[in-house]
């Protein structure tokens, strides 16, 4: 394998890692407190929700990439695979947030409200009066839904890009899938260290820490990419 054929995949893997890390910061995750309607967001862990969405995107991207006539050397086809991943992940997270919202409103009887902003930046609704005293918001207000959709799209995009790069390195679809899952988890976990529990979305003050996470993922993905190239060369 000559040098030029692995520089592009290495760059793609590194960028994919940084995108996956950035994506996790957009996903409104409230962890166990959100399952008790004590904080705003979806009631599960950061890594797990981002991974659930990202993997649905990965399945969509892999199905697209395996279609007859798709060439990984064609930039248009690469773009279509990445967009397939993005839309697949958006569907997963969008429906999860919607069904969660139905349970919050009809099963728990709460008003969706964000604690980290006075007014919803998208709808302009005032938030504070609707928050149950003693909690830090609850449910999935519109700003969280929009932020989550952006995060899911980025996650699907990043996962698909990593998958494309692994296929360009010569791995079979099955092996590329296993490696992409591991690679996604690595970057999602790095992001969750940066977030440290809960985040509401792009309006949350913790979102400002995103550049640190992206740099960390950039470096670790570069190293992971070098190891993967070694594997592809049979070292």
């Amino acid at each position: 394998m000559d040098a030029t054929s692995f520089i592009l995949p290495l760059a793609e893997i590194t960028i994919a890692g940084a995108i996956i890390n950035a994506s996790v910061h957009f996903v409104p995750v409230g962890g166990a407190p959100a399952a008790m309607a004590t904080s705003t967001g979806v009631g599960t862990g950061t890594t797990q929700l981002a991974a659930g969405a990202g993997f649905t995107g990965l399945l969509a991207a892999a199905t697209m990439a395996s279609q007859a006539g798709v060439s990984l050397a064609n930039p248009v086809h690469m773009l279509l695979i990445m967009l397939s991943g993005a839309v697949g992940a958006m569907i997963m997270l969008g429906l999860t947030m919607l069904i969660g919202q139905i349970i919050y409103v009809y099963g728990i009887g709460i008003v969706p409200a964000a604690d980290k902003c006075e007014k919803d930046p998208i709808t302009g609704d005032i938030q504070k009066p609707y928050i149950t005293p003693g909690t830090t918001g609850h449910g999935i207000p519109t700003v969280c839904f929009v932020s989550g959709s952006i995060g899911a799209a980025l996650g699907g995009l990043g996962g698909a890009l990593a998958y494309i790069a692994l296929q360009q390195l010569g791995f079979a679809a099955a092996i590329a899938g296993v490696l992409a899952v591991g690679f996604f988890f690595m970057n999602a976990v790095l992001a969750s260290y940066n977030i440290g529990g809960t985040i509401e979305g792009f309006h949350d003050p913790k979102f400002k820490k995103m550049p640190n996470g992206v740099i960390a993922s950039f470096v670790s993905s570069l190293i992971a990419g070098a190891v993967l190239i070694g594997m592809a060369m049979g070292l």
């Binding site: 009631g43 599960t44 697209m64 429906l95 099963g107 728990i108 899938g177």
Partner: protein, 299 residues
């Protein structure tokens, strides 16, 4: 037969299997008190609430379900490659996964509850262990079987290039993420705190003050699954079923409309974006409904 029709049939079956799977997964996690609301069951004895809930959350729901479904998928895959009928192979694989699940549940329950016995006086009720383990393993079997079936359909009829064990692992992680995001909210914020008036989140000051009495007698995990099977469980199933169905349907729709690769994929992408946009609009409608119906807590 027309390949499109076969794809549509397989997709419908996969969607139905995923719906059953999501529902069974959520109800299993309610009986076994796994995932997020488990933090409250764990906190209960420290707040003086001696309870008879099962308690088995050592890892999160997505990770543990990823394990079970991957076990089932791996064994089924090996048996299919050895020449066994696919349905039988999936049943055998799910059976082994159910045994793994049972072993995990027993050790997790004993470990968690014993950890609270000496300091907080929480007894280890052996009858809770024996009465809950059947419904846990049974619900778990249904969830794992239907999910492995959906994964098998995805690899054989819906054009997924990954091998069965990997698709099974991904489906397991996804269903765990959905179950703990949606159904657990109904169990955690509503069922565990029914002595507080309906409506509103659980203030931090009330956390750990879980209900230990049910409609009759002392409450246990079986009551939780009875309660949650009327709302949280079915909605979780609907969520996973819709995701599998709509994500597959948009690609098949592109194939039906036809054209070259770019046209077909563009149609699939546009339909997917439309689904997300509709979800966003309904989400907003629900938010407005709740604001008007319930009103503010303070003016």
């Amino acid at each position: 037969m027309d390949p499109t029709l076969i794809s549509l049939g397989a997709l419908a079956l996969a969607g139905a299997a995923a719906t059953v799977s999501g529902c069974a997964e959520d109800l299993e996690s309610d009986v076994g008190s796994q995932s997020n609301p488990n933090s409250q069951v764990q906190l209960g004895p420290q707040m003086g609430n001696i309870h008879r809930y099962f308690n088995k959350a050592i890892s999160g729901e997505p990770v543990s379900y990823g394990l079970y479904v991957a076990v089932a998928g791996t064994i089924a895959w090996a048996l299919i490659n050895a020449g066994l009928n696919a349905v039988l192979a999936i049943i055998v694989g799910s059976g082994v996964a159910a045994i793994v699940h049972g072993a995990y549940s027993v050790s997790a329950f004993l470990g968690r509850i014993v950890g609270q016995s000496k300091k907080f006086g929480q007894p280890v009720y052996m009858d809770v262990l024996t009465s809950h383990i059947g419904p846990i393993v049974g619900h778990g079997f249904i969830a794992v079987f239907t999910m492995t079936l959906a994964a098998y359909l995805a690899t054989t009829a819906l054009g997924n290039p990954f091998p069965l064990p990997l698709v099974a692992l991904i489906f397991g992680i996804t269903v765990g993420a959905i179950g703990s995001s949606t159904g657990d909210v109904h169990y955690g914020a509503e069922r565990e705190y029914q002595k507080y008036p309906f409506g509103g989140g659980i203030p931090v000051a009330n956390q750990g003050d879980i209900d230990i009495y049910a409609e009759y007698g002392v409450r246990n995990g079986l009551d939780s699954s009875y309660f949650c099977s009327r709302f949280g469980g079915p909605l979780t199933g609907l969520c996973f079923g819709l995701i599998i169905f709509l994500d597959g349907w948009r690609s098949i729709l592109g194939n039906i409309v036809g054209g070259d690769l770019v046209t077909k994929t563009s149609i699939a992408l546009l339909v997917g974006l439309l689904v997300v946009a509709v979800a966003a609009v309904i989400n907003r409608k629900l938010e407005v409904y709740a604001r008007n119906k319930y009103g503010p807590y303070r003016n």
